[in-house]
Amino acid sequence: MPKTTILVGLDGTEQGDKVLEFAKTRLGQIDDCLLLICYVIEWSPFAFQTAEENEKRHARREEELRVAQERIIDPAVSQVAAEGYTVKGIVQHGHAAEVLEAIANEYGASQIVIGRHSARSVREHVFGSVSVRLAASSPVPVTIIP
């Protein structure tokens, strides 16, 4: 197990490049460091669905995981690994702040790095964006890249 684990949250936008760059240049240099790159597919177990959607949900989930892995995680992992860093990719469904916090706990991460986004939806205005929620509840330091 590496001495230091840095959890890097990507959101599938261009912001991810900045986040990744910061994680590599500022943190990846740490001796025996694992960069844990994570993408969270927004999903609530309390959302309402029709019976037909339920029936196809497993297949749909597998497809969502595959697409996220291929389009977001694999390219990021390949790029970071090619530069000689120790890296691992994770894709998971859930609420981004909660999932990142849980993964940080599970892997004993010493820091979380994520991008900042202004509130885009009513929900985010009311409940706070991922970065704000994570900053408020994370058990480890959170670096928010502007």
């Binding site: 597919i41 999903w43 177990p45 309390f46 959302a47 309402f48 669905q49 029709t50 019976a51 037909e52 959607e53 339920n54 029936e55 196809k56 949900r57 497993h58 297949a59 749909r60 989930r61 597998e62 969502e64 995981l65 998971q92 469904h93 859930g94 999932v99 849980a102």
Partner: protein, 538 residues
């Protein structure tokens, strides 16, 4: 989507809608051409009554020498048997059901799959609806306040039945290579019977599917359209309403929207409905609570009436037995325990433990009947909508029903009762009824489709045939009179319960083994709790 695919879909929609539009146009022509002739509603009703009357009589015939319908006894006995056999799981499993729905036992690694909450919500959207609004009014209007007591009792007992069928639904569902699942009584009849070495499972599955088709078209479709139309007429002026006697207009609009969702694949409509329906459900219960609290001084009296009516009949036609029959009948129609429909809805959860889904499912009759139906009944009783003779203190009975202001029954009685507390509520109720009806129709179209494809096989054309037929019956349901539709829909849904409960009796030892194993592993800590505190002593 490319232009050509969009065009193809539009053409397909237009082609499939054409027969419905043509039927409606013919109906309009007929109505315009012959004012003196019987209306199209009456014609549809006559054909409907004559073609289904024999089946209704068969299902609702009385036990010889009594006026007690055998089918009511069938459901009650089954619910009692399952309650005893599983040692009152609806009581000792209740807390665990809540924890499962909260996700305390859901592995975060499986996040993204259908959750217990979602399966419960989907199944509830198919059951919470007109049965809770119109059905309860019918029960209380005929059986008196005492029907409420028996309805609640049936709801509590039915929790054990629902647990049994949904556990089996998950255990014997089909999982296909593409990741989709199909489950329900037809699968546990075929596979479960084979596992126990009992013959006849395949035949029973076919019979069940035929009844499910009838149930999906009757209670899950025509009854919904009929009551939605009744409420729309009610809020738009009653006898003076433009819609009065023109049920086909409501039916046509409902059919078109249902068609867009189930054939056109317009998910946005379904998604909006699935979000709005729970909101309406909460609004309905909250409003009922407000009305009950406004009349807080009547609560004691109303509860007294419910208990007195349950055991004395309060002079209502049919007495205690009348109240009991109405209560049990409405509870069964509302929460569908023993019918088998919930087993289809709950089968989509991807759990390794069938017991968990059964335990979650026992919350359905509780929410549907014990909470929502009781609210409706209390509001009707408290509102004074049921007329009492001031001299005798007994209810005024006319034509076998308790007299009401304006002679209203069904959903109109509920509407009138709510209006005594909040005058604007009938408008909200009208919206709620239409949305509940629509949501239930979408759910039942799925149950019917599963039965249909089990019978005739999968395939786009075959599915389209069923879906178009479903929409045609929506129009018929809105046009026919309440009596014929409600009797037929009751009969078909109870017919499903006849076959399903036989299967449940034969397969309940399998459920017992599942439950014993699951709760032993839960107590030993082998089944892990992922959040919500330490492992409880279940």
């Amino acid at each position: 989507m490319s232009f050509f695919r969009r065009a193809a879909r539009t053409t397909l929609l237009a082609a499939a809608l054409a027969p419905i539009c043509a039927a409606a146009a013919r109906a309009q022509e007929a109505a315009d051409a012959a004012e003196a002739a019987p209306g199209i509603d009456q014609m549809v009703n006559d054909v409907f009554t004559s073609s289904t009357g024999w089946f209704v009589s068969l299902i609702f015939s009385n036990v010889p020498g009594t006026n007690f319908p055998w089918i009511v006894g069938w459901l009650v006995v089954a619910a009692v048997v399952f309650t005893v056999y599983f040692r009152g799981i609806q009581l000792w499993g209740f807390g665990h059901a809540i924890r499962l729905v909260k996700g305390d036992y859901s592995n975060p690694k499986d996040s993204g799959e259908v959750s217990h909450f979602q399966a419960l919500a989907t199944a509830l959207s198919g059951t919470v609806g007109l049965g809770n609004i119109a059905g309860v009014a019918v029960a209380v209007g005929i059986g008196g306040p005492g029907a409420t007591f028996w309805m609640i009792l049936a709801g509590v007992l039915g929790m054990a039945t629902k647990f049994t069928e949904c556990t089996l639904g998950v255990k014997y569902r089909n999982e296909y290579p593409d990741g989709t699942v199909s489950g329900g009584p037809m699968y546990y009849m075929r596979k479960g019977f084979a596992e126990r070495g009992i013959s006849g499972g395949s035949i029973m599955a076919i019979v069940f599917c035929i009844f499910t088709l009838g149930g999906s078209i009757g209670g899950g479709n025509m009854f919904q359209a009929n009551q939605a139309h009744a409420q729309l007429v009610n809020v738009t002026g009653g006898a003076d309403s433009f819609l009065d006697g023109r049920g086909w207009i409501t039916g046509l609009i409902l059919a078109a929207v249902v068609f867009l969702v189930i054939v056109g694949g317009i998910k946005s409509i379904a998604q909006v409905t699935e979000k709005v329906v729970p909101f309406m459900g909460v609004l309905y219960v909250a409003t009922a609570l407000i009305i009950i609290l406004i009349n807080y001084q009547q609560i004691g009296w109303a509860i007294g009436q419910i208990f007195a009516g349950a055991f004395t009949g309060l002079g209502v036609a049919g007495g205690i037995v009348g109240a009991l029959i109405q209560g049990f009948r409405r509870a069964a129609f509302s929460n569908e325990a023993g019918v088998g429909s919930a087993a289809i809805a709950h089968s989509a959860v991807r759990t390794k433990e069938p017991t968990t889904e059964g335990v979650v499912a026992l919350l359905e009759p509780f929410i549907d009947t014990v909470v929502i139906c009781t609210m409706t009944a209390l509001v009707i009783v408290i509102s004074g909508a049921l007329q009492v003779d001031p001299e005798t203190g007994l209810y005024v009975v006319q034509d076998g029903k308790i007299a009401t202001e304006g002679g209203v029954t069904g959903v109109e009685l509920t509407s009138a009762a709510f209006a005594t507390g909040l005058t604007w509520f009938p408008y909200i109720l009208a919206v709620a009824v239409v949305l509940f009806a629509f949501s239930t129709m979408i759910s039942w179209s799925y149950y019917g489709l599963k039965a249909w494809t089990y019978l005739v096989g999968e395939g786009k054309v075959r599915e389209l045939v069923y879906k178009v037929a479903f929409c045609v019956f929506t129009v018929i349901g809105a046009a026919a009179q309440l009596g014929a539709v409600i009797d037929f829909s009751d009969a078909m849904i109870f017919a499903m319960a006849v076959v399903n409960i036989i299967a449940l009796y034969l397969l309940m030892p399998i459920v017992k083994a599942e439950v014993t194993s699951y709760f032993e592993r839960l107590r030993s800590g082998e089944i892990k709790r992922f959040k919500g505190g330490v492992q409880p002593a279940e």
